[in-house]
Amino acid sequence: MLNSISPSLQRPRLRCCDASSCRSAGSGALLKALETARSNAGEAAEPLDIEPVGCLRLCSQGPLVALDRPEGSSLFGGLSAPLAGALVDAGSGTDNNSSLNDHAIDLEQPFFALQHSVVLEGCGQVNPESIDSAIAHGSYEQLRHCLQELSAADVREQIRRSGLRGRGGAGYPTGLKWDTVALQPPGPRFVVCNADEGDPGAFMDRSVMEGDPHRLLEGLAIAAYAVGADRGFIYVRAEYPLAIERLRLALRQARQRNILGNNIFGSQFDLRIDIRVGAGAYVCGEETALMQSIQGRRGSPRPRPPFPAQKGLWGAPTLINNVETLAAVPAILREGGDWYGAIGTDSSRGTKVFALSGAVVNTGLVEVPMGTSLRTVVETMGGGVPNGAGVKAVQTGGPSGGCIPAALLDTPVDYESLRALGSMMGSGGMIVIAESMAMPELARHFMRFNVNESCGKCLPCRAGTVQLEQLLTKFVAGNAQASDLEQLEQLCQMVQTTSLCGLGQAAPNPVLSTLKYFRQEYKTGCEPATAGPQPWA
């Protein structure tokens, strides 16, 4: 999608990335400078469109600007305001780009060429602040189609056929979840979009919300129709101010056009969507905690069953899907469930968006078919570790996931393969770890995170993670005893099997996976006198 131009495009266009990452690199000033440069250029630049867009993927080269001309698209990175004039000249065809040569980014390189955009097909293309731009790119066409031509059961059938599984981490079949909510006894029900993307290093959902918010609203509205809900919430973390701003704007625009509200597209379907902003609690990504938070309470999880699909918000059946899951829905409806199901692997269908970061040359957003190997993502697309140093491991699944060692980089990315290795898909953060990182220290980093984010309700997570962090500190400092290793493993197992919610149950994963693949480093963390002879690793 990045290197294609929509057929309707007649005029040359500069797309300036106006998402969080490029903004922090200075894209705000660049965008203003582009507009100034265009007015200064006068008549020659008149046909040139300049649009703010969402993430253009290669965040490490930000700020990024894409240039669309009839003969093709090109991308420039590492830009700053003084280059605005050259960009406008290039856009109006009055310059040979010489000063931009150093900033040109090859769109044929694997980082772009191997991407398969479904969820992100509009991200970087549409102007996220303009509903007209979104509609021109097809937004709400599928909602109209569903409301006017499909029954709720037909819609769910397409989702079932697509094989889509929850992109928030656990991978629960989306179609089954929709059916469970839809088939509850008659009465009110709710749909919720979980946009509390809390894993450090994960910014997939943020990019969707910042780059293509109408796609998310459309997906949520289709979900509401499919399960019979007339009320929806988007629970966004407060740390995403730009995403919140754009979602609010998108909601206002959709209401003004009567795309949300009563009798949508002339049907009997009504839907009201509200945004609820979190207040800084990772645990609120857990669905029962999230519902507590939506209802104005402490984000403490409760035991399941009952599942939210049976008893959720205000006791009513509630469908909870994350951003990426819902953002996949419009494309599935447009192309058909079978089309989506043909992408990816048998058990994990479709595409997955990853936020690639850490010790890697190309930091940014990649969307690839499920089943793509970690090596392809990290080395071929990501370009490996800077300065040619070796990859030690790849961390997936955030503080609930694990580290996959370099030797297993040929593992395909799918739910089952990652779980078999002691990690998990998680929401899609993929952090490359260089040789220089000590694994007990990395494990402690995640354990600290879990200590800080534990809600404190259940004992194993509240008190167990504190003890785990202290144990890990001994290994980091190199003064652990051999018995500490045994205690570490037993306590990990205890916290894993007895914690109340998924956060607690998964808190030991970063320790367990590094123990599994880098045990020697823990042994090195023991005092020599107690460690005994070093066995063959």
Binding site: S20, S21, S24, A25, C59, S60, G62, P200, G201, F203, R206, A238, E239, Y240, R276, V277, G278, A279, G280, A281, S293, I294, Q295, G296, R297, R298, G299, A355, S357, G358, A359, T363, G364, Q395, G398, G429, I431, V432, I433, A434, M437, L442, H445, F446, F449, N452, C455
Partner: protein, 180 residues
Amino acid sequence: MKAAAAAPIASEATAEQKRINRLVAQNGSSPDALIEVLHQVQEIYGYLPEAALSQVAQQLRMPLSRVYGVASFYNLFHLEAPAAHSCELCMGTTCFVKGASELVPLLEQRLQQQLDGPSAADGWVLRQVSCQGACGQGPVLVVDGQLISQATGQGPGLLQGQLDAAGLPNRAPKPSLGAP
């Protein structure tokens, strides 16, 4: 109860209370709106003063302890007035694996205060924060709202210059002649 009893006497306090009452009403006066209301109260004061919490509880018809329980649960709610100036070091995983912790001694030395310790007399506080969402530019620092990116990749001299420009005080003892 202290907070509520003290408030209605002064007329300014009543104006403050009216402001909160309006805000609660705008949010539908339902206990469900508590978090949204607290966000808006914090926007006004910069934190959540006790009297405001008490007023919110009254208006939403909620127990005081429940309001306090919620206000103290979430990281972004502050029960005390915030420090005047902050230097925040991102300790998100990406920044961490890119060496954010190596910056701790440099910052502690410069400010002559401890990470996550009490704020200095001139109001500066040095703390670690979770992911700032600038993973492409990591490791990052935020000095009074100003983002400093790729803080380890540019050499300590350049970084110190950027910190100077961002207004971060340099309290490090001057090196004696001949010291590196």
